[in-house]
């Protein structure tokens, strides 16, 4: 009974220390139990990047990490970038991804994927249900490290009738993973582990996609009220960040209808209204060099071959318009060079695999 007579301040310090150690263990165990998949790897890889080491960050949905290969851009133009994104990211989460980005990085350029707004507009009762799909919310939120930004994201993005506390303390959902722990879980138990591809996911399957050209459509179609409000909120939020340039982008995809182009035109109008840059790649298939017979993984995403072409095109586009530095000769970025060399090998294997998948019906116009 060593502490019954202890002074109050000693007991208070002990209590604080006990809670502090508990919190540390709690966070560690929470991270340990979270599932390890490509979405989490993308986020934890971002946390593992050294502070202020990225020149460009691509924020958005799955098109980011399936289209943009940061190590290809490094190889061709020498700037560092990262795909800070997750699959089917609900549009209301984008601003929190941006906030998370800016906590540890001060990139020259932020690339924002606009397709979450387009998806939100087109599907599930024009946005509300799309925004509140539990799986997408979980994917978007659960990989984040514990922080006030994460708390804000949950408070503003998760409907009140959802068990919000189980989002805040995701151990409530994932504690049953205790039976399924692997060495991977241990690696990710601090919620930071380098992504060898800088967030990029290699896709080696293909589908024959159909090409539509609607670039000449100039009419606009109003976004749903929900999506327009969200986009405006994001634009206003970004306006408050003076130090960074922002480019809003629509990546190239198939199953592209005239109405989509009208939505893109409307989004372009809104984006420009707030003084930001906009790029719709669906009018630039030839400039990118996309072959719809081999470069697509599905209707929404390019495969590794398409990503290679898209990255080269976009890297050149960005390098020409923004002050993105070439760091290839900077010894401080030697790790990027090594990563690029490893990635080149992986890329070669992936392209061969893709070629095998395509068979004799087509060929990859790869380097």
């Amino acid at each position: 009974m060593d502490n019954t007579q202890k002074p109050a301040w000693k007991l208070a310090i002990r209590a604080i220390l006990f809670v502090f150690i508990f919190a540390l263990l709690f966070f560690w165990v929470s991270y340990l139990l979270r599932p390890v998949d490509i979405y989490r790897e993308t986020v934890t890889g971002y946390y593992a990047e050294p502070n202020n080491s990225l020149d460009m960050v691509f924020v958005g949905g799955s098109v980011c990490f399936k289209s943009w290969a940061p190590l290809v851009a490094w190889d061709t133009h020498g700037f560092t970038s990262y795909d800070f994104a997750t699959d089917a990211l609900p549009p209301q989460l984008i601003r929190y991804y941006v906030a998370e980005t800016l906590k540890s990085q001060s990139p020259v350029l932020l690339l924002i994927d606009l397709r979450p707004f387009e998806f939100g507009d087109k599907t599930f009762e024009r946005g509300i249900k799309y925004m509140h799909r539990e799986a997408a919310l979980r994917r978007g939120i659960d990989s984040f490290s514990y922080s006030f930004n994460r708390l804000d994201m949950i408070n503003s993005s998760v409907p009140k009738n959802y068990p919000r506390l189980q989002y805040v303390f995701d151990i409530a959902k994932y504690h049953t993973n205790i039976d399924k722990l692997t060495a991977d879980n241990l690696r990710y138990s601090f919620n930071r582990w380098p992504s060898p591809t800088k967030g990029f996911t290699i896709l080696t399957e293909h589908m024959e996609a159909v090409r539509y050209d609607y670039a000449d459509i100039t009419e606009t179609k109003a976004l749903s009220e929900t999506m327009e409000t969200l986009l405006r909120e994001l634009l206003i939020y970004l306006q408050g960040i003076k130090s960074i340039q922002v480019l809003f982008i629509v990546t190239p995809y198939s199953l592209y209808v005239a109405e989509d182009q009208m939505l893109h035109n409307e989004m372009a109008r809104l984006v420009r209204e707030y003084g930001f840059d906009y790029l719709d790649c669906n009018g630039l298939y030839d400039e990118i060099g996309l072959d719809f017979a081999v470069d697509y993984y599905d209707n929404s995403h390019v495969n590794v071959a398409g990503a290679l072409k898209f990255t080269r095109f976009l890297a050149a586009y960005l390098a020409a318009r923004y002050a993105l530095p070439d760091r290839r000769n900077d010894p401080a970025y030697e790790t990027w060079q090594r990563a690029s060399e490893r990635f080149a090998t992986e890329l070669g294997e992936a392209l061969s695999l893709l070629q095998e998948n395509i068979g004799s019906e087509g060929y990859i116009d790869a380097p």
Partner: protein
């Protein structure tokens, strides 16, 4: 506000901090406020009116009984107040039972009566606080306690939030001093209380909830699961109920202890009792004690019983004259306990089962003793104790079939199936394993049950684990606390689409 929720934990921590920050003379006011908030957030808010009626009427009646010299008036007010409180409980909880029973009885004679049902919402904990109020009135009437002068203090006694929803059933004279006295912060008291709460969460989330699915499956489909399934399901229910209710009590008593208010214990390692009577002296102790003190003993002391005893003595001798009135008093007690547990015939039969087992136990005690001696088993041997404890647990578990089954027919059907269908292989079948949640569940729940029994053994031998832990160095102590905390967090059944059920005794 479920006791198994983060809201409740936050509520408790906030209250605990405030409790030790406010001046001591305001502490009981804070508890009263906390109790009101808890009541309003937990149950249906308008049912607070039932609670208020009980509080106001019992306070007035208590004051009147205390100050009135006229015995007849005193008695009239006392009886009226008892009728009001018990009547309110009966109306809110047993009206449908009465309607359906009347309907069935009348229809036995060929009528086609349909009385329908009522859907009155009763206040949370009405079965518990009504007994407290009745106990208080009896104590005042009998002169055991002084009536409380302050209506707000009396309101706190009735509605004290840790115990209102599931007990223990406190006596006014035991709680009075602790409840209204100021309590300074005492590290040991607070930490011991919190540790006990944590142990309660472990019992509920790691043991009781992990057995819920299996018990629900067996009791939900008694025609599918027969014979050995029923035995296994019933033993599982005994463990589930014990972990659930005693876990509930650990949370309640732990919380109260951390506020400096020690409530009466409700469990004392019942699974190690050697006969059913002793089991009930260790299981839901305050309920049994209440019925003894306020129902059975007054009956045994009554003139009618004394008269019956005298008549029996002249006809059948001293031994019978002593036993029969006592057994009849016990019969009333067990029927009362049965009715208190629920509004169905199965609960009355549950009471009758325990009554019969206790009486048979008393009658057969010499027989068992002879048998033991012939088998050359020492009375204090481990084997004999083990046999007695297992026998007691089994007999108690059979009684629980009435408690858990959906109806009396179901209960009898299950008991019939349990003794007529011989399928011991089912216990080890793949289906049983699947029902129990597979090895993934068993490898957590079995060690947890072993830990529960180990702790109970220590308690039964008078060892306090908390006191032992407090004597260890800080590193070991904290490792133990963190281990228990994370055992609850990692192995508990909660979250991810799973909502832990309310405590089984929480809906009374």
């Amino acid at each position: 506000m479920n006791l198994i929720s983060l809201q409740f934990l936050v509520f408790c921590i906030a209250l605990l901090v405030l409790y030790y920050l406010v001046p001591k003379r305001f502490q009981w006011w804070l508890l009263l406020l906390g109790s009101a908030v808890f009541f309003l957030l937990t149950g249906t808010p308008y049912t607070i009116i039932y609670l208020l009626i009980s509080i106001v009427s019992a306070w007035l009646a208590g004051r009147y009984i205390q100050t009135q010299n006229n015995r007849r008036r005193k008695r009239a007010v006392f009886i009226a107040e008892i009728i009001l409180n018990v009547g309110m409980l009966a109306a809110l909880k047993y009206t449908n039972f009465l309607l359906s029973t009347t309907e069935s009885l009348v229809n036995l004679f060929g009528a086609n009566l349909s009385l329908g049902t009522v859907s009155w919402v009763s206040a949370i904990g009405i079965s518990f606080y009504t007994l407290q109020v009745v106990g208080y009135l009896c104590d005042v009437y009998w002169g055991i306690s002084q009536a409380q002068r302050n209506p707000f203090k009396f309101a706190l006694f009735v509605s004290y939030f840790p115990q209102i929803s599931s007990g223990p059933i406190s006596r006014y004279h035991q709680l009075e001093e602790l409840l209204f006295a100021g309590h300074g912060f005492d590290h040991k008291t607070v930490t011991f209380g919190l540790q006990r709460m944590l142990w309660g969460f472990f019992k509920k989330l790691v043991i009781a909830e992990r057995l819920t699915a299996f018990v629900n499956s067996v009791y939900g489909a008694p025609h599918t699961y027969q014979g050995a399934y029923i035995w296994l399901g019933t033993v599982a229910f005994l463990i589930q109920l014990y972990a659930d209710f005693s876990g509930n009590m650990d949370i309640v008593l732990g919380l109260s202890e951390s506020l400096g208010i020690r409530l009466t214990e409700n469990f004392r390692a019942p699974l190690f009792a050697r006969n059913v009577q002793a089991f009930w002296q260790r299981w839901h102790i305050t309920l049994g004690a209440w019925f003894k003190d306020y129902v059975m003993f007054p009956i045994l002391r009554s003139r009618a019983w004394a008269k019956m005893g005298r008549r029996l003595k002249t006809r059948f001798g001293k031994n019978t004259a002593r036993r029969i009135p006592a057994w009849l008093g016990m019969l009333v007690l067990w029927v009362g306990i049965g009715i208190w547990h629920g509004n169905g015939w199965q609960f009355i039969f549950q009471g009758l089962w325990f009554f019969c087992i206790i009486v048979l136990g008393q009658l057969c005690a010499p027989l068992f003793d002879t048998l033991r001696r012939k088998l050359c088993i020492r009375e204090k041997s481990f084997i004999w104790h083990l046999f007695q404890s297992l026998r007691t647990c089994l007999l108690f578990a059979v009684g629980l079939v009435f408690f858990r089954a959906q109806s009396l027919n179901h209960a009898f059907g299950m008991l019939f199936s349990a003794v007529t269908v011989f399928n011991p292989g089912a216990i080890f079948s793949v289906q049983t394993l699947a029902l129990l949640g597979g090895w993934e569940n068993l490898r957590i729940v079995l060690p947890a049950i072993a830990l529960l029994l180990f702790v109970d053994v220590l308690h039964a031998r008078g060892n306090s684990l908390r006191a032992w832990a407090a004597r260890q160095n800080i590193a070991l102590r904290w490792v133990l606390y963190y281990a228990l905390l994370f055992a609850v967090l990692l192995f508990g059944m909660y979250g991810g689409g799973y909502s832990p059920g309310e405590f089984i005794y929480g809906g009374f």
